[in-house]
């Protein structure tokens, strides 16, 4: 009886503690971001939005969005136009974008365990590029304008 009630009280405290420590409302930015008119992105360009932490890539096959957060330890990667790759400043991971035969976002070298994820992208009714940063999609799903 004594031990049983103690166990119930301990379990209740654990549940209460876990629920209390998990915020129910987050004042974080919305995962869906409006990235503007497709015409503003030149062909064969990679554009990093630092605030949204995504790359908007405009290739010959169409538009797509890559998560710019490195899959290693979460640093913000950057586009290196002279090398034609995406690179992480923290631990040197490198990712491909335009190389033929490779999937954009694929790792070239470095400690990153996974490629940069593709994010869901669509055109809004007003014809603007929308990206849902919380939804990863299978690669090679381009948005054609």
């Amino acid at each position: 009886m004594g031990l049983g009630s103690m166990a119930i009280a301990a379990a209740g405290t654990a549940v209460f503690g876990y629920q209390f420590l998990s915020p129910n409302v987050l004042y974080e930015p919305s995962p869906v971001v409006n990235m503007g008119r497709p015409e503003s992105y030149q062909l064969d360009s990679v554009t990093l939005d630092v605030d949204a932490r995504i790359f908007i890539v405009h290739g010959t096959e169409g538009f797509f969005a890559l998560n710019a957060v490195c899959t290693h330890l979460g640093c913000l990667t950057v586009w290196k136009p002279d090398l034609g790759i995406i690179a992480c400043p923290c631990h040197g991971s490198k990712f491909d974008v335009f190389q033929a035969g490779k999937t954009p976002g694929e790792k070239i070298e470095g400690p990153a365990p996974r490629p940069l994820p593709w994010l869901r992208m669509w055109l809004s009714e007003d014809g603007e590029l929308m990206v849902d940063r919380a939804t990863e999609i299978r690669p090679m799903q381009f948005v054609r304008v």
């Binding site: 915020p23 987050l26 974080e28 330890l73 640093c75 923290c90």
Partner: protein, 259 residues
């Protein structure tokens, strides 16, 4: 001069007010001296008697005491820094800059806090190496070694949580990387990271949580563990002296009197 001072002090110790606070009266007898230690809530954690040579530098290199000293500096400077620091996203970085360039002695206090933190980590490691290579972790002191390891973890967590508080780029990315390491824990990693940061990013909730951990929870944990750590020294037979434990250190050697 010193004898006259001693006389005044002895008289003071016989007054009713003094005796109401400290039950042990004046006198140089071993009993009186022991009682002065034993009947004091802080000093009673320590041994009433210590070998004189154990108080020399060579016995311990004073590494534990120096660690306590840096902890005391960190508590005092930390409390003073808290008077000018707001753990909020719009203000944290500005307050840090204010502490450096606007507050009188702010830069001194902040630097002292930072250097003492580095020194404490160094001293904790030095203390542990010394205890390890001298064999002072062995029975009957094995549990105090375990408490010491927990204190090492608390020290490192204090350093880690304090790193975020200046809210600059270095802090932000260090905690981003550090919390992503936590999410590598199998099965519950992402949940651990979520609870640690109070969200999906290093943001206002993370700053507040790290502030509470750094200024309240971890120092209190350190305080109680340090108290137990000191009390265990007494309970485990005083400071470790190499020759004082022939049966443990040299099992094959003939018993010899402890020095």
């Amino acid at each position: 001069m010193s004898t006259r001072f001693r006389k005044y002090f002895d008289e003071l110790r016989e007054t009713r007010v003094w005796r109401s606070m400290f039950r042990g009266g004046a006198g140089a007898s071993t009993l009186r001296k022991s009682m002065a230690i034993q009947q004091n809530v802080f000093l009673h954690l320590l041994s009433t008697k210590v070998r004189k040579r154990m108080l020399e530098f060579n016995a311990t290199w004073y590494l534990g005491t120096l660690t306590l000293g840096t902890f005391a500096i960190l508590v005092i400077t930390g409390i003073l820094l808290m008077l000018y620091y707001h753990p909020s996203v719009p203000q944290a970085y500005a307050d840090t800059k204010d502490l450096q360039f606007v507050v009188s002695s702010g830069q001194f206090l902040r630097n002292l806090h930072r250097w003492a933190a580095h020194a404490m980590v160094f001293l904790v490691f030095a203390h542990m190496f010394r205890v390890f290579y001298r064999g002072a972790y062995r029975p009957p002191r094995e549990f105090n070694w375990v408490i010491g390891v927990v204190l090492l973890l608390v020290t490192l967590l204090l350093s880690y949580t304090g790193y975020l508080l200046p809210w600059d780029q270095l802090a932000f990315w260090a905690i981003t990387v550090g919390s992503n390491i936590a999410s590598a824990v199998p099965l519950m990693g992402d949940k651990v990271r979520f609870l640690m940061l109070g969200g999906h990013f290093v943001n206002a909730n993370a700053l507040l949580r790290f502030y509470v951990l750094h200024c309240m929870i971890l120092p209190l944990a350190a305080f109680f563990l340090i108290a137990i750590h000191f009390w265990r020294i007494r309970k485990d037979g005083g400071l470790y002296a190499h020759q004082s434990e022939p049966d443990v250190v040299m099992t094959t050697a003939p018993a010899r009197p402890s020095l």
